[in-house]
């Protein structure tokens, strides 16, 4: 009886093993070069949706590049999951570094992990191009291979303040951060910009995953502000928005690119209606240049592109193009690719990509969105709106 079971199991396993070796042999036999692009971001954990938006954009770019026939090499995708947490960042980075075929990394997606992992990538001479880590000080720490392909939170915080003061003429604002690296960094900039514009600011902190947002909402309302800025992610903005509505908050509510996701509306329900959301990202379905991308994306993933999907798509294509140039010149080395990317001038779907000598993005436009009913509607760039 027992022996029979073993035999039953052993046959398919042996066949499987043969099939696997067969595949391996076929691959190396064809002689094509393979370069891998890794993505470090939250592919599990509480903020998985943001990671998936980017992963989908990256995979779409890779798939289209491989299918285009322009490349005489093959690009492969490697996921490196850090759950968006700093303490998981080093292990995720090491996974990408240890795979010697990986020539560039997109990410780390979040600011906290980026701060932890950028040094590791620097030591390995591996380019880390983040399309979403927006904490301002990441580019001031001298990380050798870290490039930021997105406007930082200084622009986002300043953009929030600019819209509230110049357009809406608010006089008193409560700024709430979520005690994460990202939230505090963004809230600091927003607070400073508002104060510079002569606005009365009350600063509060509500740590992520607070079990009960009703007290926090009361704390906001009792200050009677004209506007609220919440610097954090959708998972907390959802219940916070609900409780603000219950507490009778009637001012302008504004949040950031961490909240700018359909999930926010799912969680907050009708309490999310009217929220203003800023983002360094454009809406792929709105801008003329990105409509084809949006259609391809929807066809493949059965959902509309999310926050930072088009930017990730752009960054991936930018890296592929540099890989292609180096490949034609003879070979792709990690360090050579870092140098190439530092000097890049790439026109993507969403914007022009180029970096200053610190690896900071040179284009600092911030866009505004607003929740209307069941959808997040694109309003345009803050500069255009303020006029």
């Amino acid at each position: 009886m027992l022996n029979k079971t073993i035999v039953k199991l052993a046959i398919p396993m042996a066949v499987g093993a043969l099939a696997l070796t067969g595949c391996g042999g076929g691959d190396s036999g064809s002689g094509g070069d393979v370069y891998k692009i890794a993505f470090q971001g939250p592919l599990s954990g509480d903020n998985v949706q943001l990671g998936q938006n980017m992963e989908n954009g990256i995979q779409l770019a890779i798939e289209q590049a491989n299918a285009s026939g322009d490349l005489d090499f093959k690009i492969e995708y490697v996921p490196a999951d850090d759950q968006g947490l700093p303490d998981k960042a080093t292990a995720a980075a090491q996974k990408a570094i240890d795979d010697t075929d990986v020539v560039a990394v997109i990410g780390p997606a979040f600011s906290g992990p980026a701060d932890t992992a950028a040094e590791v990538y620097g030591a390995a001479g591996l380019a880390a191009v983040s399309a979403s880590a927006t904490r301002p000080d990441l580019t001031t720490k001298g990380y050798e291979t870290f490039l930021r392909a997105v406007p930082n939170d200084s622009s986002q915080g300043a953009g929030m303040a600019k819209y509230l003061t110049s357009k809406l003429k608010v006089e008193k604002v409560v700024v709430v951060d979520d005690k994460t690296d990202y939230g505090i960094g963004l809230a600091d900039v927003a607070e400073k910009s508002l104060k510079d514009a002569g606005v009365d600011v009350v600063r509060q902190s509500v740590p992520q995953k607070t079990p009960d947002y009703s007290a926090a909402a009361k704390n906001v309302v009792k200050n009677k502000p004209d506007a609220l800025i919440y610097a954090g992610y959708y998972q907390d903005a959802g219940p916070f928005a609900k409780k603000l509505k219950e507490a009778g908050f009637d001012g302008v509510a504004m949040s950031d690119d961490g909240t700018n996701d359909q999930q926010f509306i799912e969680l907050a329900g009708d309490a999310s209606d009217g929220w203003l959301l800023t983002c360094a990202c454009t809406d792929a379905t709105q801008e003329e240049a990105t409509k084809k991308f949006a259609a391809d994306y929807e066809k493949k993933y059965k959902q509309a592109p999310g926050t930072y999907s088009p930017e990730s798509f752009d960054v991936t294509n930018m890296i592929i193009e540099e890989i292609k140039k180096l490949h034609e010149e003879g070979g792709v080395e990690r360090q050579a690719l870092v140098d190439a990317l530092r000097g890049v001038k790439y026109k993507g779907l969403t914007k022009e990509f180029s970096f200053d000598d610190k690896g900071e993005f040179t284009n600092q436009t911030v866009y505004l969105y607003q929740v209307k009913g069941d959808s997040i509607e694109y309003q345009g760039s803050v500069d255009d709106l303020v006029g």
Binding site: D46, S205, D212, G238
Partner: protein, 307 residues
């Protein structure tokens, strides 16, 4: 803090505290009969949230129900939450703890098993239900239900308060007035003598877990209604409720209720006075101060008698 703000925060604190109290009972009951700190109870709570959520998602109509329909759906959600919580607690005892008791494993092994079971359960939930938070479907229009001393109570808050009090009264009755309750108390006092007197210890332990699980599951549903449901939602409320059980006197059911209320009020008052980053500082300062004066908690330890 003005007087009206004081009432506002007090009411919020009592609502939160009554939730903590119901969760804390689960810790204290199990500690009473087994001297086991069942850290996986926070996951029983979390599964309760998903139980209510899944049942309601399957049954609730597109438009928000009103009137008696609302009551019906609330009842369905609560029962589903309690049922799944009870089932998880039952399974937990069977799979994780009973084999250890058979082998007379040392206390530390139980504790580590509890932590392991907790890890397993919340990762399982993450796999099964996804890692995004999910909103509880609306069972009613959540407006202001009534006003107490100028503080407005929403329907959700009133629901939490009323059902938590009802559960606590019911549980107090079960523990003190029924045959099952005397079984639980007997095992808590002296398991060996209770066994000699014909009490089936395995049965009593299993029922104790289920009882705590029912309450924890219902609390998970209420918590999810108040905020949202996600796979690690048990962690913070679980830790706080455990602290509440210790504060009231672990093993003591009425102590757990009192401890929960005290911690809920202290937390929320702290938030009102100094902001949300001080929430747990206030709560745990009170915990330490009380334990310095009364090391066995406000009402003293043990379900049966003080040890």
């Amino acid at each position: 803090m003005s007087l009206s703000e004081f009432w506002d925060f007090l009411v919020l604190g009592v609502v939160l505290g009554s939730l903590y109290a119901v969760i804390a009972i689960g810790y204290t009951l199990v500690y009473g009969v087994l001297q086991l700190l069942n850290f996986a109870h926070s996951e029983v709570f979390m599964f309760g949230g998903y139980g209510g959520l899944l049942a309601l998602t399957a049954l609730i109509p597109e438009t928000t129900p009103s009137g008696m329909n609302s009551v019906l759906y609330v009842a369905i959600g609560m029962l589903a939450g309690a049922a799944l919580g009870g089932a998880v607690a039952f399974g937990l005892e069977r799979v994780a703890y009973r084999p250890l008791r058979r082998h007379n494993a040392p206390r530390l092994v139980f504790l580590i098993t509890a932590i392991g079971a907790s890890f397993f359960l919340y990762n399982l939930a993450g796999k099964l239900f996804g890692r995004n938070a999910l909103p509880m479907p609306a069972m009613y229009e959540n407006g202001t239900a009534l006003t107490v001393f100028g503080a407005e109570l929403t329907v959700t808050q009133l629901l939490i308060l009323v059902s938590a009090v009802a559960m606590m009264v019911l549980l107090d009755y079960v523990v003190n007035r029924t045959k099952m309750g005397s079984g639980i108390r007997a095992v808590a006092q002296d398991p060996e003598v209770a066994a000699l007197m014909g009490v089936d210890i395995d049965k009593v332990v299993s029922r104790t877990f289920v009882l705590g699980g029912l309450l924890g599951g219902a609390a998970g549903f209420l918590f999810g209604t108040n905020s949202q449901v996600w796979y690690t939602m048990g962690f913070l409320p679980g830790i706080t409720a455990f602290a509440a059980a210790v504060l009231g006197g672990i093993g003591n059911v009425r102590g757990a209720m009192l401890g929960g209320l005290v911690l809920g009020v202290v937390e929320t008052m702290t938030v009102g006075l100094w902001g949300d980053d001080w929430r747990y500082v206030g709560a745990f300062v009170v915990l330490v101060l009380v334990l310095m004066v009364r090391p066995t908690g406000i009402l003293g330890e043990r379900l049966g008698r003080t040890a």
